[in-house]
């Protein structure tokens, strides 16, 4: 089980809801992914165009925990404002702190992330900060009392996979809260690798929404995360420099 704050989840896949080719594909992808936590962004409604469908309103919300992000915020104050708006919906008490510090790489601003995290924790939010793979920053966030930490594997939407497994391993080793690898996952092998490193969960979006067949990829990611977790729990064999025969050397047949 994955436990974040006072909630427990059997799925270790958290799914983003952006950029799907259609609502029907998205609904099916969400269903087969078996994800229980879905992320959303908070935006001004386009009220001057005729009624636009909204994915959230098509979901049975009793089946999902919503994880709003603060994407769009560049400062702690903006992130806190977005968190307040999300909470005012009455639908969620968790927030993914996401404060971008670089428009080109979309890497998070560490200073503003720390500030926003502190402010939101003080207000009683369940706080999951999206952070870089900086080990010391991650430790500081954990010490502040975050409910999970979400280091990126690679820049958002890049699909480049696990760029720094050593740092992620160190973050996982030192963390006293769930570590959710967020951003940069491109393929099922990346998700499996994250889980084999000992991550508690994976959050991904584009890897599914931008796949040729998002529904099939959603299932692939679900299985990849399950496989990675099982492999981690099973404990892999050691790596060796030389071969070791699997078949017995005794009882070899004479020539």
């Amino acid at each position: 089980m994955l436990t974040i704050g006072n909630r427990s989840f059997s799925s270790r896949l958290l799914l983003g809801t952006g950029k799907y080719p259609s609502f029907d594909v998205q609904k099916e992808a969400v269903r087969v992914s078996e994800a229980e936590v879905l992320t959303f962004a908070v935006r001004r409604m386009n009220i001057f165009e005729s009624s636009q469908p909204n994915f959230l309103e098509q979901l049975d919300l009793s089946n999902y925990t919503l994880l709003p992000n603060t994407a769009g915020a560049k400062t702690a104050e903006e992130a806190v404002r977005i968190a307040h708006l999300a909470k005012a919906s009455g639908l969620c008490d968790m927030v993914k702190v996401e404060i971008i510090g670089c428009d080109r790489s979309l890497l998070p601003d560490p200073v503003e992330t720390l500030r926003a995290t502190s402010m939101l924790l003080d207000e009683g939010f369940i706080v999951l900060p999206y952070t870089s793979d900086d080990v010391v920053l991650a430790r500081t966030l954990c010490e502040m009392g975050v409910h999970a930490i979400m280091p990126g594997a690679a820049p958002i939407g890049s699909g480049r996979g696990i760029l720094n497994p050593l740092n992620l391993s160190l973050i996982i080793e030192q963390s006293n809260v769930p570590v959710i690898i967020d951003a940069g996952i491109g393929s099922p092998k990346d998700a499996t690798y994250a889980m084999e490193l000992g991550a508690d969960a994976v959050l991904l979006n584009t890897a599914v929404s931008e796949a040729k067949d998002p529904v099939k990829m959603a299932e692939a990611m679900k299985l990849a995360i399950e496989a990675g977790r099982l492999g981690y729990e099973a404990g892999r064999m050691p790596k060796r420099d030389y071969a070791v025969a699997s078949s017995p050397m005794e009882g070899l047949l004479p020539n």
Partner: protein, 68 residues
Amino acid sequence: MTKTIQLNGKTYDVPTEVQSVQQLLIHLQLAERILVVERNKKIIAKEAYDKPIQDRDQIEIIHFVGGG
């Protein structure tokens, strides 16, 4: 007198029959939608939707969209 407000960043003349936030949402056919309303940068609790809209109010209607 017609009230003129800033609604989601645009100048908007409030119809005379619209007095409250709730009536505005009904007028915009948004009453059943999942949304949050900010008035002059302060969130309005749903219980306070019957409060009157004032001339030159800055109203933001916010919702959840897809995101990662």
